[in-house]
Symmetry: D2
Subunit: 197 residues, 4 copies
């Protein structure tokens, strides 16, 4: 399972929220999942520290065109990532790819960027976990879902504890995503694909 962590890349981050997001990263690694983030500073990078400290695999999806832009233009972190994918698509553009590439996506804190990411994930029918009591737009997601008033097939679960949130997501993955992937695989060409003509 690949798990995305999205949320505040700036603004005020309390010690409690940082600590819980770091524990989220630890949990992702310990369960053998791969963490994917936008390779940005802030809360997602706390998850990276947690995951990497626990020996996990971490992939970053950068807004930059290359290492130089990543560091100089976006002031983004480089420590803790096994690979950084340089999309060149900018802050919001890369989030599309980020969200698409995760089996489940977790939100914590955040403002307008995170709202855009949530809207994308919701519209693309993703399995979404909300880490409650992390402030910002995340506190309003229930209200916003009501305003949107559209059944997209997205599935949203909430918890303020990282481990319990991962438990919930794990269960949904087993019940909904994994069986779907197995069905698709059966209709496909096997786990090693098929040579192009």
């Amino acid at each position: 399972m690949t798990v995305g962590v999205m949320g505040s890349a700036g603004g005020k981050l309390t010690a409690d929220v940082r600590r819980r997001v770091r524990r989220l990263g630890v949990g992702i690694a310990k369960r053998g999942y791969v963490l994917i983030t936008g390779a940005c500073p802030g809360l997602p990078h706390e998850a990276v520290k947690g995951a990497k400290g626990a020996g996990g695999i971490v992939v970053g999806v950068s807004p930059a065109l290359n290492f130089e832009e990543h560091v100089k233009k976006y002031h983004s972190p480089t420590r803790g990532y096994d690979a950084i994918i340089y999309t060149g698509s900018g802050l919001m553009g890369r989030e599309i790819e980020n969200i698409r590439s995760c089996d489940v996506v977790i939100f914590a804190g955040g403002r307008s960027g995170t709202l855009g990411e949530f809207a994308i994930a919701y519209d693309e029918a993703k399995v979404i976990g909300v880490l409650k009591s992390t402030g910002g737009i995340t506190e309003h997601l229930g209200t916003i879902i009501d305003m949107v008033n559209k059944e997209t097939g997205a599935f949203v679960c909430y918890d303020d504890d990282p481990e319990r949130l991962l438990n919930q997501l794990e269960e949904i993955y087993r019940d909904r995503i994994f069986p779907r992937h197995v069905r698709i695989m059966k209709a496909g060409s096997g786990p090693d694909g098929r040579l192009q003509s």
Copy 2:
């Protein structure tokens, strides 16, 4: 000036809303502006019909990889566009490029997709026009801006009349965007660019 029109690509569209969005398209064309949409059905396509009927130039930014996907996979319109750019980035991915390529962006109606587009436009500090009384998420944008609680540099204006909305956007373009472009041009290599080495 390039003007984007975003909003409902489905759901119920009342005759009044359709009519006003079509008049928006007519206004964009008559003022000599270029209309850019996501080349989707629904309200944006009403704007296309209006603009093209008035002799305007229209560019679509498609989610599809090519003409065939555009028609068969996305059931998207082909009539009225001078050029369709095939991004292959999917429904939300192409919106990023769409929003970036417009000087001003107008919203009408819409649900989760439109919310994502609005969040992107707001986060990327665009000049945004909201066509009021068009239903859907557009009615809640004021509340959502309050929730986001972040000054991004975006500028949002509202009107339920297409012509008055275009008047407002025109004024902002003249006061904010055009002078900025002139400053950038002066620091650049002239309107014909500079040969690569």
Copy 3:
């Protein structure tokens, strides 16, 4: 029909080559086609000047994320374009989208960038026109096609005269591309698409 013009964005450009590429732009406009380029300087911009001078419609597909990058980072032209699509995908990345969005693609001059574009167009089975005697990699395309040794479905025609090259492309468009589009349209939802659910 949308016609792409690709080729040298730098290096030495002789007066004869510039003149023929500009005539190419004039021909594209006079025949009522839309010109699409990478919004770069050099030969493609000569085509833009020709097309715009003859009253044509011109769309640029920029490597930049926005107007500022377009002008300051890429030193790219801004005059003559009805719309510039900001892909943010960098010099080569935007070419993919550029090539995909053209019905036919014309090559003139060029070096490694143009070679990449040609390989993409060839691999994606496009209809390709080569403006002969324009120097650079274009002179070697026949040899390179032999080396590649793969039938991709691409169709390549050659002429050193812009009008005769357009005549050839026009004919191929009528015989191959247009009938294919009609077949796709018949299997689709009509020229105005279908509302999303």
Copy 4:
């Protein structure tokens, strides 16, 4: 160091070439590097098998929008990847991102797709390793570089033995890429980046 492996995704693949590319994957993993491929079948997937069998980390950059397209539309492999990034950019589009995200890129065999990838890597001044005697377009790269006749800053080395090729690339990485990254890091905000405002 992230190492890309590009090359034939189809056509005839001899047992010798398959074996050497698999050894390449083993070598990449044993040296502690991360393998990045286009998540395609053929030679790149041989490298994946080698790397994963030796306990390495593997990231795939898919042409597809999601798992379903990856399996059904592109018949691409899913086994052996720690994460698959779904670009939605199609066969050539995703290669841009793939190439950008690798410190060094290795080519083996291949036809028009591989030629496009090579042209992109060459134009973007990458460090390139060519696994000799693997057939296809790879045999002609020296001639093509002469035709291109442009100093882009790319560095190309050749060997028919995977280990010796990796030795060469390792040395170039140490001498050219790593010191450059250190310089960039010193001008940046540190390995953990800087919070956005």
